[in-house]
């Protein structure tokens, strides 16, 4: 596996939750497309444009299958962040409605929906964590029962590694006739997702976290909802007819794809989604890595954040050493880990810490990477002498 990722010869990379390294085959697919089939999509009448459109729309089909959805329910975005902004600007939320999110949420979900609440004077409810660091499902049920126009949250936390019970949340929300929109940025790389089984109304992820390119993401919006939503941005491609007096809009998904889309990136994304689908066995093995890493970490003076059961990542603080010092020290030992608030300031505030360290895993990581990281952490504890 590692030979698909030449950069891993130079660094022990444990920051896949921030972005995944790209396999050669994804870059090659992208390059081959750009060199032989590239043109603008949905425009030219010539064969090259036809070929490019075929690839672009082919990726939409692959993305739909990846999520267990229909092609017409798939919108390409810049990434999860843009998807959440699109939803926060188009969902039918009005004054006095209850918008619910959680303290776990990434700023890319938290902030668009917080701002929406402020814009339309809706109520903004932030669900807390339970004592064990998992989402407080009792509080969730109670708050949803009081009314819920939309629940926006994550499928898999990029800090605690908790997989939320999205299916259960969806049931509760739908009982209130609300909508549930899910940030799948982390989940798409680690879990096999089926949006119909989960019963969600919208689901978003980013290409770059599933071994694909930056600049492209996937947003699923269930068919009934997508046909009712107004446009998010205006311009080429998203129109039906334009006159001096008025404009009518194309049907979804084109309605939500104004302007020239990330075409070359779509070719890369197709290959990346195939890569993920072909490596489900290796992805399943990441669970063992998480368990092994957690066991080894616990032998150090650490506080681990969140519940015991984790997928994809482990966040922690080393006693008395600032997370930035830890990450910097490890970098000097050739180990790349994250330090900061990981775009979850409300979560870190609720824990009473400004920052934490995080190690996260991808298909290319093995036990040796964890051993190297643990050795470096041990050395860090020694040098900082705590």
């Amino acid at each position: 596996m590692k030979e698909q990722f030449p950069v891993l010869e130079t660094v022990t990379y444990l920051d896949t939750a921030a972005t995944a390294q790209k396999p050669l085959r994804v870059l090659q697919a992208q390059t081959a497309f750009a060199l032989t089939r590239y043109a603008n999509v949905h425009r030219g009448l010539y064969q090259l444009a036809e070929a490019a459109t075929k690839t672009y729309e082919g990726t939409r089909q692959v993305a739909a299958s990846f999520l267990g959805a229909e092609k017409k329910e798939i919108v390409f975005t810049k990434g999860t962040t843009e998807a959440m902004n699109l939803l926060a600007h188009t969902l039918p939320i009005k004054k006095g409605d209850r918008i619910i999110t959680t303290v776990l949420d990434h700023h890319s979900t938290f902030v668009p929906f917080q701002q929406l609440a402020q814009r339309v004077k809706a109520e903004f409810i932030v669900l807390p964590l339970a004592k064990d660091g998992s989402l407080d499902m009792k509080a969730a049920q109670k708050e949803i029962k009081k009314g819920c126009a939309v629940l926006a949250t994550t499928h898999l936390s990029n800090v605690t590694g908790e997989v939320l019970d999205v299916k259960q949340l969806a049931e509760w929300v739908h009982k209130q006739k609300g909508l549930i929109v899910i940030d799948g940025a982390q989940a798409a790389a680690h879990l096999k997702v089926n949006v119909k089984e989960l019963g969600v109304d919208a689901y978003a992820f980013s290409g770059h976290k599933v071994y694909g390119p930056t600049g492209i993401g996937v947003l699923y919006i269930q068919e009934k909802l997508i046909t009712t939503l107004p446009p998010y941005q205006f311009g080429g491609e998203m129109i039906d007819q334009v006159t001096i007096k008025k404009t009518t809009f194309a049907n979804p998904p084109a309605r939500f794809e104004a302007g020239t889309p990330p075409i070359i990136e779509a070719a890369g994304l197709m290959e990346a989604l195939r890569f993920v689908a072909e490596h489900r066995d290796l992805i399943a093995k990441e669970e063992d890595l998480v368990e092994y890493a957690q066991k080894r970490l616990k032998a150090l003076p650490v506080t681990i954040i969140g519940p015991e059961n984790k997928t994809g990542c482990i966040s922690f603080t080393l006693e008395k050493i600032h997370p930035h010092d830890v990450a910097q020290f490890l970098d000097e030992q050739g180990v790349a880990i994250r330090a900061g608030h990981h775009c979850t300031q409300p979560l870190h505030d609720s824990l009473g810490i400004p920052a934490s360290n995080r190690i996260s895993f991808g298909v290319y990581n093995d036990k040796e990477d964890i051993d190297v990281c643990i050795d470096a952490l041990k050395k860090c504890v020694e040098v900082f002498d705590v």
Binding site: H322, G340, V383
Partner: protein, 127 residues
């Protein structure tokens, strides 16, 4: 980056104390990483005759504050206000990565704010 000199200042910060009657005092925080510093100065005839700091943060911000105070003791207020970020980075002595420059400069930023305030002015611009 974590050379002996820097680690020595981090583990044994100089002037890590609270002053009785400081003429200038300032608290500043680096919101991106949570580093916090309070700097105090005893000033006589515009000369800094005693210094103290308390705070918490990463090794870079604490060590840099310690090195800075060691340097400032005995200087005039105007000398300190004339110090540049380059002076501070030179004082730290090891090259900082972009992300850590702010940690290294927190001390100087806080000192300048304190001393501008002492002179009845406010510091213009970013650090």
């Amino acid at each position: 980056m974590y050379k002996e000199h820097l680690m020595d200042h981090y583990k044994h910060p100089r002037h890590n104390k609270t002053l009785e009657n400081p003429q200038a005092e300032r608290y500043e925080k680096n919101p991106s990483c949570g580093d916090e510093l309070t700097l105090q100065f005893t000033i006589s005839d515009d000369d800094i005759i005693d210094v103290g700091f308390t705070g918490q943060g990463c090794a870079i911000s604490i060590a840099a504050a310690s090195m800075l105070l060691e340097e400032l003791l005995g200087k005039s207020v105007d000398d300190v206000l004339a110090m540049t970020r380059e002076d501070m980075l030179e004082l730290i002595g090891v090259p900082l990565t972009t992300m850590r420059v702010k940690c290294g400069l927190l001390g100087l930023h806080t000192a300048k704010k304190a001393l501008y305030q002492y002179k009845g002015k406010t510091l213009q611009g970013e650090w």
